[in-house]
């Protein structure tokens, strides 16, 4: 009996010490990790929009973040959008626009938060909750970036997650104003190396490029070998304009599934399909409401 107790005490102590060491490392490294992730996201945004560090985004362009919240009030649900107000470059504040589930305008509340703080999830959630008051509960759902150039919309950036073969697959994609695909990037996944993990390869993810909205709405996978010229164009081994031409030839075709990873391929195509469809539906409603209520937004 005595030995059991000493063993229990010693093991507990060792676990506590080990836990403390791991926790301290986590605290020390977390900041650098977050910075890395943020830098990566920014790089992906740049590359999806066709810019790089040498070719920065011009001042006439604006990137506006729209945050979607789910508001629960006495069992009633409504959707809330945190949108910037005012014209481009004026740096106006933020408003929280609530829309009921059937698409009707509910109310508009001004939210007191700066443009720097709005990117920090904790600060943003607190500000939205403060604006909503204690009776309502606001839960963050997702965010979208609307890209404008000289006041006209040029692209939407959306990020999201959907279930893959093993765990969730996180993606980021750029759509043009007609909801056609500009580019898709796989941000995070845990698919099998060599099989499902191939979804992050150019020859798979670039298949989504230039697909029009009508095709994305019904996109599926086909289990056929990919034509050789298409593979070359997707991997970027040939001249860029020629590659774009070839990709556009295949724009109304379904996605060629990866060999040995049909489920992963299907998850990505149906996940992308769902994201695009829902986004287009929601944005149309939001635009309608903003126009009816004469809420001035920079996008």
């Amino acid at each position: 009996m005595k030995m059991i107790i000493t063993i229990i005490i010693r093991l507990t102590l060792s676990c506590l010490v080990a836990g403390t060491i791991m926790g301290m490392t986590f605290v020390f490294t977390n900041k650098a990790k977050k910075a890395n992730e943020f830098a990566r996201e920014e790089r992906v945004v740049y590359s999806l929009l066709g810019f790089s560090a040498d070719n920065p985004i011009p001042a006439s362009m604006g990137l506006y973040e729209v945050f979607r919240y789910l508001v629960i009030e006495a069992g009633q649900q409504s959707i809330g959008y945190l949108v910037p107000v005012g014209g481009h470059g004026e740096g106006g504040g933020f408003s929280f626009v609530r829309i009921s589930l059937d698409g009707a305008f509910v109310d508009k509340t001004d939210v007191d938060i700066s443009h720097e703080k709005v990117r920090e999830r904790g600060d943003r959630d607190a500000a939205v909750q403060a604006a909503m008051g204690p009776d309502r509960q606001a839960r963050f759902v997702d965010q979208t970036v609307i890209v404008t150039d000289e006041g006209k919309r040029t692209a939407y950036l959306l990020s999201g997650k959907f279930p893959g073969f093993k765990t969730n697959i996180a993606v980021m994609m750029a759509l043009d104003p007609a909801y056609s695909m500009i580019g898709l990037e796989i941000m995070e996944h845990e698919e099998d190396p060599g099989l499902g993990a191939e979804i992050e390869q150019d020859y798979f993810k670039n298949q989504f490029k230039y697909k029009p909205f009508d095709k994305l709405k019904t996109i599926d996978v086909v289990k056929e070998p990919m034509p050789a010229d298409y593979v070359k164009a997707l991997e970027g081994g040939i001249d860029e304009t020629a590659a774009v031409d070839i990709m556009k030839q295949y724009k109304d075709k379904d996605i060629y599934a990866l060999t040995g990873a049909t489920i992963s391929s299907k998850s990505v195509s149906s996940g992308v399909k769902g994201m695009v469809k829902k986004f287009a539906y929601r944005l149309d409603i939001l635009d309608q409401v903003l126009e009816q209520q004469h809420i001035g937004v920079p996008f």
Binding site: M3, I7, A18, M22, T25, T29, A32, K33, N36
Partner: protein, 204 residues
């Protein structure tokens, strides 16, 4: 019962006489699975080197406090702690390398070679000896991984460190996992043959 070997002998022992891969034949899964290129071998070898040295020193420091009945859980806990520390540091400061081998770093917890060295050496010896022994074993593993990676990368993809040196791919077979067994086996035989002929000449 302290070891009578000098520090240099301890390090050399890990690299040559008791090389984890070619002599002890421990931790064969990573040797077979990951050593497809020199860079992979180098990165995993370095991670193992750090985990081995840190764990050996920790266990050697704490050897008088470890209850003999729970020494294996304690070893596993120690290794897991250091692997987590290295995993988090790699993720934070070397994101590019981590993106490639993050999944393999976590597997180091289960590497037989580390537990075996803690059981055989670190729990009985001085801290300084354990440090040199851990360094030797880690280096031995690193050298083994790089050597296998060199052969497989050269024969499988015709390149060294990602640079195309041959201009063609001799045998794609060598970068497949099953070829790892062949390469390890052949190299094991090669090193044994060198050692046998060396000691035979010494006797004469």
């Amino acid at each position: 019962m302290a070891t009578d070997k000098t520090n240099f002998q301890l390090v050399a022992n890990g690299i040559l006489k008791e090389n984890p891969i070619f002599k002890l034949a421990l931790s064969m899964c990573p040797a077979v699975g990951i050593s497809t290129t020199v860079i992979n071998g180098l990165m995993l070898g370095t991670a193992v080197l750090f985990v081995q040295v840190f764990s050996s020193v920790t266990i050697s420091l704490l050897k008088n406090f470890i209850h003999p009945r729970i020494r294996i859980p304690t070893y596993t806990l120690t290794i897991a702690t250091w692997v987590t520390v290295i995993d988090l540091s790699l993720a934070a400061y070397f994101p590019a390398a981590y993106a490639k081998m993050g999944i393999f770093v976590k597997i180091i917890v289960a590497f037989a070679i580390i537990t075996m060295r803690l059981e055989m050496f670190a729990c009985k010896e001085k801290v300084s000896s354990s440090f040199w022994d851990g360094l030797g074993m880690g280096l031995g593993f690193l050298v083994g991984m790089v050597a296998i990676g060199f052969v497989r990368e050269l024969l499988g993809s015709g390149a060294i460190l990602g640079y195309d040196v041959l201009g063609f791919k001799p045998l794609l077979f060598f970068i497949l996992p099953s070829a790892g067994f062949f390469v390890v086996g052949l190299m094991m035989g090669f090193f044994n043959w060198i050692e046998a002929s060396y000691s035979a000449r010494k006797k004469r």
